[in-house]
């Protein structure tokens, strides 16, 4: 039984959405994920202490070969209490690509969340392995603010939280979408997260469009391939791998990214 009224929209455009009080509980959102890649590289290779003004040959050379920004697209399908987040359309960007081994891990995550049972299943490519992480939803302590901004035609309220004890996260959610989901494994706000920013990782996710096409049942199924583990298992594993990493900042950065 449906608790909420459901309006099926044929056209979703900005003025009409804002003007009418329409509540959406099924549909599909495209997120544009942007990473300020050079800023991350600067963070990772910035030398400690005061022995240098922060630039080495290696990093100066490689910076010229790296894209300043990396843009990828993800789709979030949602139907009432279920959401599935997965890589979307592929775009080839002009400009340098940089060496493969310089790319971050876990850039093609598939995340399924059941908001009712509070369980999630995430598939993440971590270097040479593919993991299937079944776990309960992230328990974030969201701080609600009075700020708001417009994203993809929806009025969104800003909320902030801190994850992994130190990473500041900004989310913008709209209460016009009833499903309380969001990109990656972020959810639990009183509506859909349409914008997400993690300044420490120089990364943002912003919805570019919201469509109300109902996702099929087969779309909203959890990923099934990969080595089964819990988030805690993976975290322990990564800690042992990164324990003696030559670049502690890289290890920290990679671990944060994998554990998003």
């Amino acid at each position: 039984m449906k608790k909420y009224l459901l309006f099926i929209l044929i056209f979703a455009c900005r003025p009409s959405l804002y003007a009418q009080n329409i509540f959406i509980s099924k549909g599909q959102i495209e997120f544009e994920k942007r990473v300020h890649f050079i800023a991350n590289v600067n963070d990772i290779f910035k030398k400690d202490g005061d022995d240098d003004n922060g630039e080495s040959d290696f990093i100066n050379t490689i910076k010229k070969q790296l894209p300043e920004w990396k843009t990828t697209y993800f789709n979030l399908y949602f139907d009432d209490k279920k959401t599935l987040y997965e890589p979307g359309r592929e775009v080839t960007e002009a400009g340098p690509k940089g060496p493969d081994w310089f790319n971050d891990p876990a850039q093609d995550n598939v995340v399924f969340c059941n908001l009712d049972t509070k369980q999630s299943v995430a598939q993440k490519s971590v270097y040479d392995s593919k993991f299937l992480l079944a776990d309960s939803l992230r328990k974030a302590r969201w701080k609600i603010t009075n700020d708001s901004r417009d994203i993809a035609g929806f009025n969104c309220r800003k909320a902030t939280t801190i994850i992994n004890d130190s990473i500041f996260v900004v989310a913008f959610y709209t209460d016009q979408i009833l499903t309380t989901g969001g990109p990656e494994s972020f959810n639990g706000l009183p509506g859909m997260i349409l914008g997400l920013a993690i300044p420490r990782l120089h990364t943002t996710w912003f919805a570019t469009k919201v469509e109300t096409t109902e996702p099929t049942v087969s779309t909203l199924t959890p990923p099934a391939k990969g080595k089964k583990a819990t988030n805690a298992d993976l975290s322990t594993k990564l800690q042992s791998v990164f324990k003696d990493a030559w670049n502690k900042k890289y290890a920290q950065h990679a671990q944060w990214i994998i554990e998003l």
């Binding site: 040959d57 302590r141 920013a197 003696d244």
Partner: protein, 925 residues
């Protein structure tokens, strides 16, 4: 029965908790004016103390809502509904309380105009073209204020409660820091996280679209932008290093280095004097105190290489003998115009003097006989050089760049060598004996200019690059050769000759080179590349030998051993290639064709030697990437190469009268095929992996030596073409980390083999070499406790010559290296490094050449952050270090010993100092 009871108990228990301790909140949401019940309103409870979300729900049909299971406490009730004003209320709820709010009235949003206070401080503002600039320090804000606080007080800029910025009445969409996007498209990240006192100025302007900047055609699209310029003194300071060491046996090693930086400007200087083998800046010092390591990135294999080829810049002396060296340098670097222009210039002085003694013993295999050669030498070599180098780079826009490099040096060299050699026959009887003294004094200079222009077009993959370079080298030497050769037959001297000559050599080489490369995308991921290059090499070489006249002056020109040439080589190269660059697969294939003209003019004999060659350079490569860390790659390169001018011109070189080299004018080009393959696999999570590599080079029509050794032991070398030469090496290696034990292990095998054909006294000789080697290494460490590492290898060497199959050389070699450091009493460290190089004796080389080199030091760290180190060290504790080299070449096997740095003790002090202005903003949150 029992089970049901338990269930009942739990039901009651939960009921008890729910009803006895948990409170509820309920109500109805209504519209103030229309009195309509609002469905789907968001009702959220925030914890009053920190506004964090506690619970939320939506209103049901009829506007009803209810939140159960509430802990007692103080909350903020936030009710939101699109287009309605937010409703806030603070309330407390007690245990077990059921709070009914009744009707909550929601009001439609009304827009309020914010009060704007404009304070004017005109003097602190100015217009620069289209840019309005505020001097940050002219506007006072409290200590620790953020940029947002500063913006609020700037006239013409308003910041609303949400952090949105309005400048000159328009919404600011971008905030840049030093011209770069600080983070994403949320301006508040920069303004709320940066500290105001780090700013030099705030600039407000309309940023044209990227398109408009690229094309220069204004499309009218503009974005109101604020640029925050940081103060330069926020990045000002200096750092340096002083290393002073004195030891026994006249050993010293002193250096001082300093780098002073202010913003992007960097001035560094260093001075080094050492008798322990340090000749210049080391790899890591070069980045901080020199002009860098000239790293280049290669897109095809995704890795880096350093293209530094200055003989003085290695930092460590690896040559023969005992060196004394002096070095000094001054380096200046700066970046302008938001890093779009980059200049680096440096001056260096190097001086190195070496004294050496050495012994060489070799066996030469001839078709029907054997020769042994013994030679001992002493030498003194001193050289110095003044060098200047500069790099200038400019990025005109994101698609067009320029790079200019200019390097030059002028130097002086002084060498003196003394040789004593003997040739013995199979039975050990003396065949010839020679005493030689060579000395020379000379100057050399070089200039190397290079300009590279790169342009990328709007269509992805369409690029053009143009490189133009000129290299000039000159050297001038004046020296003397004195040699006395005695020839013996059956132990009786039958002939003696003496050469006493002055040699004046002068050479000038200029190479002009230009290359144009154009790439064009054909279909997705497939590109075509065409290139054209022109190269002109102009050489002038004068080698004059003078014999001593009766008046003891070297005034008689010796025609046989004097040459004077000018020769030009002109090369035109054109080439085409296809490249496919997919996600998993990369491949490319193509060829270059070069037409080369030789034009040699013998200015003595007034003859001209001309040669035209057409050379091919086919190439192909294939890469398959399994994962970013695993790949297989196969490479093929082919090249024709023409003989060098020495190989075709019949010039005799008598620097050593017992070894004479002559060219062969009828030589053909050789063709060399090179195939290379690599497989790499690395598992990041288990930190294990392996790699396999192989390389095979086959040369057809190879240019090889044709040697003729007469019964006096004089060997004349000339050159001929032959087939069948190859050279291969391959290997595989495994590595694994045992995480728990913190133990790294690697092991592998490598194998190399080669066949080299040459002609000995008219007979073809094939020399085959084989060398399998096993390698093993491990390391283990515990932070602040100890580090231990070992690597070693055991190899077997076989060499056979077809002209004398009964004589084959076979021996084992072993290398072991053990490094062990213990850290104790917090500040102390004790290091031992042992290196053993063992070589099995052979029938010919029957002296003991094993070396065990043991170095050790004990050090104590001082000062804050362990910035100073006092160190007592010993080099070659066992005093048995020696220079050694054994080589298997064609039909000659050679062993060489030479003197090197032996045992010494040294006390040294290293101090790292630095000062940096603090105050850079802390990273976000």
């Amino acid at each position: 029965m029992n089970k049901n009871f338990t269930l009942l108990f739990f039901c009651l228990f939960f009921f008890f908790i729910a009803s006895a301790q948990k409170a509820s909140l309920k109500g109805v949401i209504e519209d103030t004016t229309a009195k309509e019940k609002l469905v789907n309103t968001t009702i959220a409870l925030l914890r009053a103390k920190d506004s964090t979300l506690y619970k939320f729900t939506r209103s049901k049909p009829g506007g009803l809502f209810q939140i159960d299971n509430l802990d007692s406490g103080k909350y903020v009730l936030m009710i939101t509904y699109n287009r309605y004003a937010d409703y806030y209320d603070t309330f407390s709820i007690a245990q077990n309380e059921i709070k009914n709010l009744g009707s909550v009235m929601m009001t439609l949003e009304a827009n309020l105009l914010a009060d704007v206070t404009v304070r004017s401080k005109i003097a602190a503002m100015r217009m620069k073209g289209d840019t309005l600039e505020y001097a940050a320090d002219s506007f006072h804000v409290r200590q620790g204020a953020t940029v947002e606080d500063l913006l609020k007080v700037l006239p013409g800029i308003q910041v609303d409660k949400n952090g949105n910025i309005t400048a000159q009445g328009e919404k600011v969409q971008k905030v840049l820091v030093d011209g770069e996007e600080f983070f994403g498209d949320d301006p508040t990240v920069a303004t709320q996280n940066l500290q105001a006192d780090a700013l030099k100025s705030v600039q407000v302007f309309d940023k044209k679209s990227d398109q408009a900047e690229f094309t220069g055609i204004d499309d009218g699209e503009k974005t109101k932008t604020i640029n925050l310029k940081l103060k330069d003194d926020k990045k000002k300071g200096y750092f340096g290093k002083i290393d002073a060491g004195g030891g026994t046996d006249n050993r010293w090693n002193n250096s001082a280095m300093i780098n002073n930086f202010k913003g992007k400007k960097k001035i560094s200087a260093y001075g080094i004097m050492s008798s322990t083998g340090k000749t210049g800046l080391g790899w890591d010092e070069r980045n901080s105190y020199g002009s860098g390591n000239n790293l280049e990135y290669d897109d095809d294999f995704g890795g880096f290489y350093s293209n530094d080829n200055d003989e003085f810049s290695g930092g460590t002396y690896y040559g023969e003998g005992v060196p004394k060296s002096w070095a000094a340098g001054l380096n200046f670097g700066n970046k302008f115009n938001d890093d779009k222009q980059n200049f680096n210039g440096s001056y260096r002085f190097n001086k190195i003097s070496t004294t050496g003694t050495g012994n060489t013993f070799s066996q030469s295999i001839l078709p029907d006989s054997l020769f042994y050669n013994k030679e001992s030498s002493t030498s003194f070599n001193s050289r110095y050089r003044h060098s200047l180098s500069s790099v200038y780079e400019q990025q005109f826009d994101s698609s067009f760049s320029l790079k200019f490099t200019g390097n030059g040096y002028t130097g002086h060299q002084n060498t003196f060598s003394n040789y004593l050699s003997q040739a013995l026959d199979e039975d050990g009887a003396l065949v010839n004996q020679s005493k030689r003294t060579i000395s020379s004094i000379g100057d050399n200079s070089s200039l190397n200019l290079n300009l590279l222009l790169k342009k990328k077009f709007k269509k992805q993959g369409r690029t053009i690059s143009w490189n133009i370079s000129d290299i000039y080298n000159a050297s001038n030497t004046d020296g003397f050769l004195y040699s006395q050769n005695s020839f013996y037959a059956k132990g009786i001297m039958i002939l003696q000759d003496t050469t006493d000559q002055e040699k004046k050599n002068d050479s000038k080489v200029n190479i002009f080179n230009t290359k144009l490369v154009y790439t064009e995308p054909i279909v997705k991921n497939l590109y075509a590349e065409i290139n054209y290059a022109f190269r002109l090499s102009t050489n002038k070489s004068e080698n004059l030998s003078y014999d001593k006249a009766l008046d003891n002056k070297y005034s008689i020109l010796n025609d046989t051993f004097s040459t004077h040439y000018s020769f030009d080589v002109t090369t035109n190269t054109g080439g085409a290639a296809l490249k496919y660059n997919g996600k998993k697969i990369t491949f490319g294939a193509g060829t270059d064709i070069a037409s080369t003209n030789f034009n040699q003019n013998d200015l003595f004999k007034d003859t001209v030697l001309k040669r035209n060659y057409l050379n091919f350079f086919p190439k192909a490569n294939f890469i398959y990437k399994f994962t970013p860390q695993s790949r297989i790659s196969i490479n093929y390169n082919g090249r024709t190469s023409q003989p060098s001018i020495e190989q075709i011109s019949p010039v005799a070189d008598n620097t050593n009268p017992l070894i004479i080299t002559k060219g062969n004018p009828s030589l053909k080009q050789e063709f060399r095929h090179n195939i290379n393959f690599n497989v790499n696999k690395y598992k990041m999570l288990s930190q294990s992996g392996f790699y396999v590599y192989g390389n095979l080079a086959i040369t057809s029509n190879a240019i090889v030596t044709n040697q003729f050794t007469d019964d006096k032991g004089i060997t004349t070398y000339t050159y001929v073409n032959t087939d069948g030469n190859y050279n291969m090496y391959s290997g595989l290696s495994f590595f694994k980390k045992f995480t728990k034990a913190n133990f790294n292990l690697n092991y592998g095998l490598r194998y190399s083999g080669s066949r080299y054909s040459n002609f000995v006294n008219g007979q073809k000789n094939q020399t085959d070499n084989y060398n399998p080697t096993f390698e093993l290494g491990f390391n283990k460490g515990k932070e602040k406790k100890y580090d231990i590492s070992y690597w070693g290898n055991i190899g077997y060497n076989i060499s056979k010559s077809s002209i004398n199959t009964s004589l084959s050389t076979k021996y084992w070699t072993q290398d072991h290296n053990l490094d062990f450091t213990v850290y104790f009493l917090k500040k102390f460290e004790f290091n031992n490094n042992m290196e053993a190089n063992l070589r099995q004796k052979t029938v010919v080389f029957n002296t003991n050449n094993n070396v065990l080199l043991w170095n050790a030091y004990i050090g104590r760290k001082f000062l804050k952050k362990d910035k100073a180190l006092l160190k007592f060290s010993v080099h070659d504790l066992l005093d048995q270090n020696k220079g050694y080299d054994r080589q298997l070449n064609t039909n000659t096997i050679t062993e060489r010993n030479y003197n090197t740095i032996n045992r010494y003790f040294m006390l040294s002090f290293v101090w790292n100092f630095s000062k940096t202005a603090a105050g850079m903003p802390a990273p976000a949150q």
